[in-house]
Amino acid sequence: MSEPERLRPIPAITRDTQFWWDGIQERQLLIQRCSACGNLRHPPGPMCPSCHSLDWETLASSGRGEIYSFVSFHHPPIPPFDVPNLIVLVELDEGTRVVSNLPGVPSDQVRVGMPVQARFDELEPGRLFLQFEPA
């Protein structure tokens, strides 16, 4: 009997963060926005640190941004991730940052400041993941 195929880690999701993961499954990159003062925040949480409001809504990001930092993961190889695995910290045009992957780009061609665009890849059956590509 072969080993069951390893899947990407399932994130822990709380009532504060469910909307973000639901958004990904609907091909939307959402950003939490304070209903009182308009402050954007990511990672999302229950209270606005600027004005202490518990009320929030969401903004659909354009998905445009630029590489703020990046790493190329080599060791230890952790299934199901291929190595090297390019992991990027993207600063979105809206101002918040998000961690994701930049698949198919050699790490020596990645630069801080490089423009990128979000996309949604079905990397596992029925499960979409936020990924980025060069813009």
Partner: protein, 396 residues
Amino acid sequence: MSRRKSRLKNAAAIAGIGATEFSKDSGRSELQLALEAISSALEDAGLQHSDVDGMVNFSMDNNPANEVNRYLGGDHLTFFSRIHYGGGAACGVVHQAAMAIHAGVADVVVVYRAMNERSQQRFGTGVQDRPPVPTTENTNYGWHSPYGLLTPASWVAMQARRYMHEYGATSEDFGRVAVADRKHAATNPKAWFYQRPITLEDHQNSRWIVDPLRLLDCCQESDGAVAIVVTSTERARDLRQPPVLINAAAQCMTNDQMMMTGYYSDHVATLPEMGIVAEQLYATAELTPDDVQAAIIYDHFTPFVLIQLEEFGFCKRGEAKDFIRGGNIEMGGGLPVNPHGGQLGEAYIHGANGISEGVRQLRGTAVNQVEGAEHVIVTAGTGVPTSGLLLGIDEG
């Protein structure tokens, strides 16, 4: 607020240090390691097991104080506490001890860290959060784990890349930290890498772990234990060893602090929590960087050593790469860093072995002794809520 001057100056002292050997497979339980290190620290101090009335350990330590105290054969404890946030607790445990002694809730507090981190529970193998319990802490890992950002090296590498971008540091600059640590370890018989120095070329030829971090940028994994006995300065003066005074102790978490993944603030290329620890230490001890002759800088990964040197004011922001050139952080340099070899060279005991080294430097008993050491900085884990100590000789 960040420049807070506390009332802890010289209130407490380190009276004893103890440790097991440092290895890759201790061959005994973590609980036994803890007990051995504590016994040895009490012996060093000239205290009895029954003198202990307080204990502080890391929340990541697998040996709760009650289990340790059941076998220690001492007395009841009137103070016990645990500090969270991995290696960020390293100096925080001593801070807790000093506060408890200053407040009069305990007289002799033992702090310890005991782990079979290599043979039993390796931190570098990655966070396995399937299926995760949706705790607040696990939720944070979830922003990174689905993309493969799963190990401490990878978390630090992301900040390191940004630091390189902002200040022009290179992989060779990181390598100079590893070379210094390994040079020091090479003459420390207790170090795992005793008699095994490396060159900058070795560093540059070592394989990528998570680019921009190479194998030789990453601290080793170790089995071992360290214990430290803290008591009042007054009582320490009557004990076996010359007291090493806690000139100051401090903790900090910022108002946007994350746990190893501080990617979302305006200071990805700095460690502001450590800067605020530094400000508190200097303010409380009424000292400046010029008064410090040696520094034990937490070195789980080399890039954060550079940033910490900047946060402590040993050099200007972004200039650590210049500060460390020409052997300036090696023995005989302007600021010897990690004369024991650090966690890259001696052992990775979550920073606790660095506190012991600070004590030895001030007793004048270190194998790589910094001449005229009167004040030593010790730092704890970085990229997390953290802590620091400023230790000094007893001038009273």
